[in-house]
């Protein structure tokens, strides 16, 4: 159910990000969502791709430090206050968010997709579903 996100350790030097994307592109792996967090020295690239296992092996063989992390993907109405509502539910349930990133997906659906990394994915999913929030499964994210 939960989505597998790849985290890639990147030294802050030119060409590293370009290399990740090139390597994936050459293997016909599609990036669905990404986010970068960085300090002056290093960054962590977070990726959702359509073929996480294959991408993991590939990047590893290219010398990158990669790890997989479970995250949850939530469909949020693309309108003011949409994200606030979801955050309020998580706060109420005492679930800490380590990080999140969002992107506005297909414009026809009027939904935004938000990727959450929380301490307890399963609990978060349960809480959100009970409140009627649409949590999407990995196949949906990989193929959208």
């Amino acid at each position: 159910m939960n989505v597998n996100q790849l985290s890639v350790f990147l030294e802050n030097k030119s060409g590293r990000l370009a290399k990740v994307t090139r390597v994936l592109g050459e293997r016909d792996i599609n990036i669905r969502a990404l986010s970068i967090a960085d300090t002056t020295d290093f960054g962590i690239l977070r990726l959702i791709v359509n073929k996480p296992e294959e991408a993991h092996e590939l990047l590893k063989s290219e010398g990158f430090v990669v790890t997989q992390t479970e995250v949850i993907a939530v469909c949020i109405p693309d309108k003011p206050g949409g994200l606030a509502g979801v955050l309020a539910i998580l706060e109420e349930a005492g679930i800490n968010i380590e990080y999140l990133y969002a992107f506005v997906g297909n414009t026809n659906t009027k939904n935004a997709l938000v990727i959450f990394r929380v301490e307890d994915c399963d609990k978060a999913v349960e809480v959100l579903k009970n409140k009627g929030v649409r949590v999407v499964d990995k196949e949906y994210v990989y193929t959208m």
């Binding site: 996100q5 985290s7 350790f9 990147l10 030294e11 967090a37 300090t39 020295d41 290093f42 962590i44 977070r46 010398g63 990158f64 430090v65 990669v66 790890t67 997989q68 992390t69 380590e98 990080y99």
Partner: protein, 434 residues
Amino acid sequence: MIWDEKYECMSRQDMRELQKERLREVVQRVYQKVPYYRQLFDRIGLKPEDIKELKDLEKIPFTSKETLRDNYPYGLFAEPLSKVSRVHASSGTTGKPTVVGYTRQDLETWAELIARVVVQAGVTREDVVQICFGYGLFTGGFGLHYGLEKMGATIIPASVGNTRRQMMLMEDFGTTALVSTPSYALYMAEVAKEMGINRENLKLRLGLFGAEPWSESMRDQLKSKWEITATDNYGLSEIIGPGVSGECLEFGGLHISEDHFIAEVIDPETGETLDYGEEGELVFTTLTKEAFPILRYRTKDISILREDPCACGRTTARMKKVTGRTDDMLIIRGVNVFPSQIESVLMEIKGVAPHYQIIVDRKGFLDNLEVLVELEEEMFTGSFRDLEAMEKNIQRQLSTVLSIDVDIKLVEPKTIERSEGKSKRVIDKRTLNG
């Protein structure tokens, strides 16, 4: 087993007598045969006859690396080239190399000394020894080669380079003992892992490491990564090359072949001779070398001497494992820092690969110490907090030991240059920028 009981287990009294006799001889010989020493003695009014007791050695001025450079290439040879069978040279980091020579007898002596060192490190005639030292001007390859051959082990003269092939040889030829620099052995372990080599298919049981200073924590790494007994051996081309001293399996220091060399420890600042148990710079005098005798050579290596008996049965004095040099001491904002201190701290920290580089630079008017540390793949959780915590932890531990602030930079695995010979751990940009 002891290779040469007569000399390695001689009583301290007999050893001193032997050294005294040989010292008198060598002083006479260099005075007669090496113009540099004759002029030096004459200038300070010292006569070879003045050197009667071991204590008199202190009257002789030191010889330094600069002396070798000034007399490049053959100026300090005590024999004509017709009697010199081989030359070796050490790469000078600045300018010309320093050149040393060996007569047939010197090569014989050298092989004997290496035989002692390898036997005390546990090598037997049954062993298959892979020598991953360069065969060339560097003394490491040929030095170990002829000593091991004399001792009777089976040698694989693999030399340096092509690490994957080295690993193939190790696996297919059934190597039981590895001769290399400690940093190269760590690199080989990494390559072995990459290649998916199964430890059970290797017969390796011994590692004989030398040619660069290394810490006890590095020894622990080598032992755990390779599952071997790891010993240190020491030497420098100016004295003879490897074979000056080596560890026995009691690990209480490196036994010095004192029938061929007199070891002293001096205060590097004042030049004053220090007692057993005191830390200072090692100084060697060769007693039997024919082609290239040298008096009181300053090694710049820091050690401590001891002469208490060793449980292995050898009676020769021992020197503490060299972990630093007087010239690799960095002075950062007025604080003395040795790369070996940094190495020791890093090796103790989980999740850090045993590869690092120290970069000293000047930011504004202040010295800045940056340590590049390779992240180990297993330690990457994908969490930013974990990485930052790790950086802070390394930073805190280093700052505590060094008592100055240190910048840590985590870098991707296998990005710090691997060396097949002596590794280059320190880049001091202050000197480059003038």
